[in-house]
């Protein structure tokens, strides 16, 4: 099943809902409103996309958006489809949970919450998963500032004193340069 066929089927199944095709290369994506994410993933399941592989959060300060990216895979069609919900940036963004459809969504969503600060409505256990529970801030936000201390202990981080993250002129902390 090609990407366009999937998009066509979804558009036909949910009339009145805007699905935007994202022309990114090499993989395109389907952007959809957050209210429809549960229904669309459920419909994709009926189409044979039975496996929720990944949920990622991506922060875009330039366009002032936060994207929640879903990768749903199919065994029978041998392909993966990428769905995106584009939220406005800022604190307290929320999106419906997929825990009712996939049990694997539980931990995947917790990780997005932990790293990007997006909450999932109806999630049974919305806690941090990788960082300590009292950690402040969401590390994968682009404007995240690493705290100098955690419970009185200095945080030894390579990038703490190296200026803006992502500056290409910075020496790499390990590996690469040697």
């Amino acid at each position: 099943m090609t990407f366009d066929a999937i998009l066509e089927k979804i558009t036909a199944r949910f009339p009145g809902v805007t699905f935007t095709k994202g022309e990114t290369k090499p993989d395109p994506f389907i952007a959809l409103p957050k209210e429809k994410i549960v229904d669309v993933v459920k419909y994709l399941n009926e189409l044979g996309f039975e496996s929720l592989h990944c949920i990622s959060g991506v922060d875009y300060p330039k366009t002032n958006t936060t994207e929640v990216v879903y990768h749903v895979a199919s065994f029978q069609h041998r392909t993966t489809v990428c769905l995106k919900v584009i939220l406005p940036r800022g604190d307290g963004q929320s999106i419906p949970t997929l825990c009712g459809l996939y049990r694997g969504a539980n931990w995947l969503e917790r990780e997005v919450f932990d790293m990007n600060g997006v909450t999932f409505e109806g999630h049974p256990d919305m806690r941090r998963i990788l960082c300590p529970e009292d950690w402040v801030g969401y590390p994968l936000k682009k404007d995240y500032v690493t705290p100098d201390f955690y419970k009185g202990m200095p945080v030894p981080l390579y990038f703490a004193d190296q200026g803006e993250a992502g500056d290409p002129g910075q020496p790499s902390p390990a590996g690469g340069g040697h």
Partner: protein, 387 residues
Amino acid sequence: MATLDTEQPLAKHQATENLRTDELLLNMGPQHPSTHGVLRVIVKTDGEIVKAAHPEIGYLHRCFEKHSENVDYMSVMPYVDRLDYLASMNNEQGFAIAVEKMLGLEVPRRAEYIRVIIAELQRIASHLMAFGTYGLDLGAFTAFMYGFRDREMILDIFESVCGARLLYNYMWIGGVARDITPDQVRMIKSFCEYFKPKIDEYNTLVSYNKIFIERTRDVGVIDLDTCKSYGLTGVMLRAAGFKWDLRKDMPYSIYKELEFDVPVGNGEQGTLGDCWDRHIVRMREMAQSVRIIEQLIDGIPAGPSRGKIGKVPKPPAGEHWSRTECPRGELGFYIVSDGSTNPYRVKCKSPCFMNVATLNDLSHGVMVSDLIATLGSFDIVLGEVDR
């Protein structure tokens, strides 16, 4: 000296209605040999029976994704090594393939051959580790010694090939860091010759051992529906009887040209998808890996071992989701590029992360010892769970 009155004390407590067993909250880990790293499982037990087990992860979190945003694509490679540190070569292959796809880069045939040979050797090494430590979990120390003996030979080959024994930084974007020499080819060939009969030996020693079967059959059963609901991949999925291997079904690199079988569990010792099935799928996969290496080792084409690529790769703006078959399941990389030298975002979807997530569902009403057997059969590496 007071004598022990054997008649009296029991009779005192005959009224059992008031007797209530207390639930005990037990912390398994973070430093516990059977958790294979720093995993903490909060186990609620009633005597020997587990009521609930909540895995707590994050003790080995090293901000891989954040680090990746701050260095260029080539410099991410050493970090990728440290995800699943028992299968570093497979991780590197996965990341390299993802970036090459974004760059639209062809990898020289010689490099592809070397990569697949090395990746399959690493798969054997990783499965040997799984076999050894699983034996250890169940009280069979012998398996551990045999597994490590043979893994050592593979590590010697890797040391000769790239200079490191655990964290290699060997597969680079566009090819491999160093070409392999005829001497190393001979080493790999003699290892395959040596190792082929060993698999049967280990099966006799461990897999078909009566005690081992009794400990693992019907324990920790994960059926196909659970697998799909959790998005499990790799050995977990195949042990549930589902024939799915990315190398076969969505082939990357040169796997399309190779002949090998995909072993699946068939519940021959108990229930489909139990611990024994997962164990035997690993054992059988090792034989297939040897088969793959033998098909390639004599015909490595001449040519460069690394393609023409600038010092700092710069993929055009865009995004890519790539999956490769690692020993523990499908390793996914979601890479977003904004056209600069550093990745804008790297998301790593590790197979073990989902494997650990299933633990709570499997633990209701089982014995504590079965919980250990189940956890061991997942073959988790915490470096990959926590990233």
